[in-house]
């Protein structure tokens, strides 16, 4: 029996009368997985089950064979990191302090702070107050924090929850690239909740399509996934080949209900 880094077995969450799951899936080191689906589908819930922020009502969510939610916080922080949706930070903490908090579970790695900031192209923000940064700059700093957390870890898990909303497209692509490279160098698995199908297809190998609290499809990223995507979003999708070898996606609403 192969051991998987992250294993969900019939992980189910019932809350306020809503059912999310049961989720059955496995993630291995080095994989890049995109979670796609309409709003309210349960993507964030699934991510929280993976990160150990939520305890499943029934079923199991295991990281390295142990239930994630029950792990010692310090040990868990050395195995997985989460880049959250919201970037709010109370008080005017300086940027370097925010990033250094990613090192809470590790040693007092001042060098990792500087390094992580440069990976996130945020080295110029050193010394600034976090609450005075723009949205894009704050996103970079949060990314740096997460990178600092897993900088000296191998084959860990990096979970990303729609952090790219309201960032300019150039920045979005840049951050995704950074994440990809970082994870590849260390063998981390990357699981990201995204809204942009194009980004998902471009930067990830595996797609989990989530809707109505269930994983509807677990498919490799590529043109073969288009029918499943169409069913998921109720869109008509067409993949167009572009001259430099990539794909561009064109989406249109279906005229009639499916």
């Amino acid at each position: 029996m192969t051991h998987h880094m992250l294993l969900l077995e019939e992980a189910l969450l019932t809350r306020h009368g809503q059912r999310f799951g049961g989720f059955d899936l496995r993630v291995d080191p080095g994989e890049r997985v995109a979670l796609l689906g309409p709003s309210g589908a349960g993507k964030s819930t699934l991510l929280k089950l993976m990160s150990g922020d939520i305890v499943p009502t029934s079923g199991r969510a295991l990281l390295d064979g142990r239930p994630v939610a029950a792990m010692d916080p310090l040990q868990r922080a050395r195995r997985r990191a989460v880049l959250p949706q919201s970037h709010q930070v109370a008080f005017g903490l300086p940027v370097e302090l925010v990033v250094s908090l990613g090192r809470w579970a590790g040693d007092d790695g001042g060098r990792w702070v500087r390094q992580a900031l440069s990976w996130a192209s945020a080295g110029h923000l050193l010394g600034r107050r976090y609450d005075r940064l723009s949205g894009g700059e704050q996103a970079r700093v949060q990314l740096a924090r997460v990178l600092a957390q897993l900088a000296d870890v191998e084959r860990g898990l990096l979970l990303v929850d729609e952090p790219l909303a309201s960032l300019d497209p150039g920045l979005q692509l840049e951050l995704l690239d950074t994440l990809s490279r970082f994870c590849r160098e260390r063998g981390h698995a990357l699981v990201a909740v995204l809204h942009d199908i194009q980004q998902a297809l471009g930067g990830f190998e595996r797609l989990l399509l989530v809707s109505r609290g269930q994983v509807q499809a677990d498919v490799p990223a590529g043109t073969a996934a288009l029918p499943a995507l169409e069913a998921l979003f109720g869109l008509r999708l067409q993949a167009l080949q572009v001259p430099d070898g990539g794909w561009a996606l064109c989406a249109r609403r279906l005229e009639t209900a499916a």
Binding site: F91, L93, D108, G110, Q149
Partner: protein, 348 residues
């Protein structure tokens, strides 16, 4: 910059000797002020062990009072800084949050409804009935408020203040009930106790509060970086490995002990817990590891100044110091609110 990046558990606070020296100067100046005029000769007599009248006044009346102001001020400043950290809100303060009201509520119950029961306690325990009640009330109130604050997003000042207002109102309603049921004697005891005064200074109480403040400073050192992590939000703090529930429990306990002890012996002294952390942040930045001890220092200095004024403004009478801190604290709070509104960007 490198010192900060190295992120030692306890970053060196530059100017520590200066801060201690300034406090010592403030203490000496405060000890010199009061209804009875004292001078250098009295200090010399005290240090030389002579028992002149001036030396005795210093040793028995002034110095205990001044030491009391220092430890109570430090307790209030530290409790305020801890509240702001735990509730992730720069306008949190034990008074605004109703924690002292919880203490007042418990003391009101102890002095009125439960006074017969309290009178039946063994004589050795009776002096502790009010302080223990105050501590218990502060603790319960803190727990209640925590539950509400957890539902709030950081920066939602209005929400937190409203929750505090509501709990304040509840506690005060109970106090009102006790007031109604009280006999005259009980009522007078309660009213006097609430006014906020450092008149009950004595060396044993100073020692007790000193131990509490020292313990709280140790606690602050342990959890300073954890409070910084909490500023990122509870979920994120947990994600980076902070044992959020355990930390919060310890800090709330510390906060309730500090605030409860202060209220137990001094009644309601407001605004120190709000202003001291602000002054600290203005001076050393928002890093909780620095803010906590500096807030204690500012609290000590502020209360020392307020109490010295209380003792000298209407000589030979004495103003309750809680009135002075409110008189000066309220306008400053207004200024802070305006500034906070601008910074948070009208989010409330």
């Amino acid at each position: 910059m490198d010192a900060l990046l190295k992120a030692p558990r306890w970053p060196a606070l530059p100017g520590w000797p200066l801060a201690v020296a300034l406090l010592a100067v403030a203490v000496v100046l405060a000890a010199n002020s009061g209804a009875i005029p004292l001078g250098l000769a009295d200090w010399q007599a005290l240090l030389g062990g002579e028992q002149t009248q001036g030396a005795m006044v210093l040793a028995q009346l002034r110095l205990p009072r001044v030491a009391f102001a220092v430890v109570v001020g430090a307790a209030l400043g530290l409790a305020g800084a801890l509240s702001q950290g735990v509730f992730r809100n720069p306008l949190a303060e034990p008074t605004l949050l109703g924690i002292p009201s919880g203490a007042v509520c418990a003391v009101a119950l102890m002095l009125t409804v439960l006074s017969a029961w309290a009178g039946g306690l063994p004589a050795a325990w009776r002096p502790f009935a009010v302080p223990v009640a105050a501590l218990g009330g502060a603790w319960v109130m803190c727990g209640l408020l925590q539950g509400v604050a957890r539902l709030l997003v950081p920066g939602a000042v209005a929400g937190l203040l409203l929750a505090g207002l509501a709990l304040n109102a509840l506690a005060m309603a109970v106090v009102g009930l006790c007031t109604y049921l009280a006999t005259d004697e009980q009522l007078r005891n309660l009213t006097f106790w609430q006014l906020g005064s450092l008149a009950l200074a004595s060396w044993p109480v100073v020692a007790m509060l000193g131990v509490a403040v020292a313990g709280a400073l140790v606690m602050s050192r342990r959890w300073g970086q954890g409070l910084n992590a909490l500023a990122l939000g509870e979920a994120v703090a947990a994600q980076v490995g902070v044992p959020v529930v355990r930390m919060r429990r310890m800090l709330v306990l510390t906060l309730a002990v500090l605030s409860g002890l202060a209220v137990a012996w001094c009644g309601l002294i407001g605004f120190i817990g709000l202003l001291a952390p602000h002054a600290a942040r203005g001076l050393v930045g928002a890093d909780a590891r620095r803010v906590l001890p500096v807030a204690a220092w500012f609290g000590a200095v502020l209360l020392l100044l307020a109490d010295t004024a209380a003792r000298t403004v209407v000589v030979p009478a004495e103003l309750p110091v809680g009135i002075l801190t409110a008189l000066f604290g309220a306008p400053v709070l207004f200024v802070l609110l305006k500034r906070a509104q601008r910074e948070i960007g009208g989010g409330w």
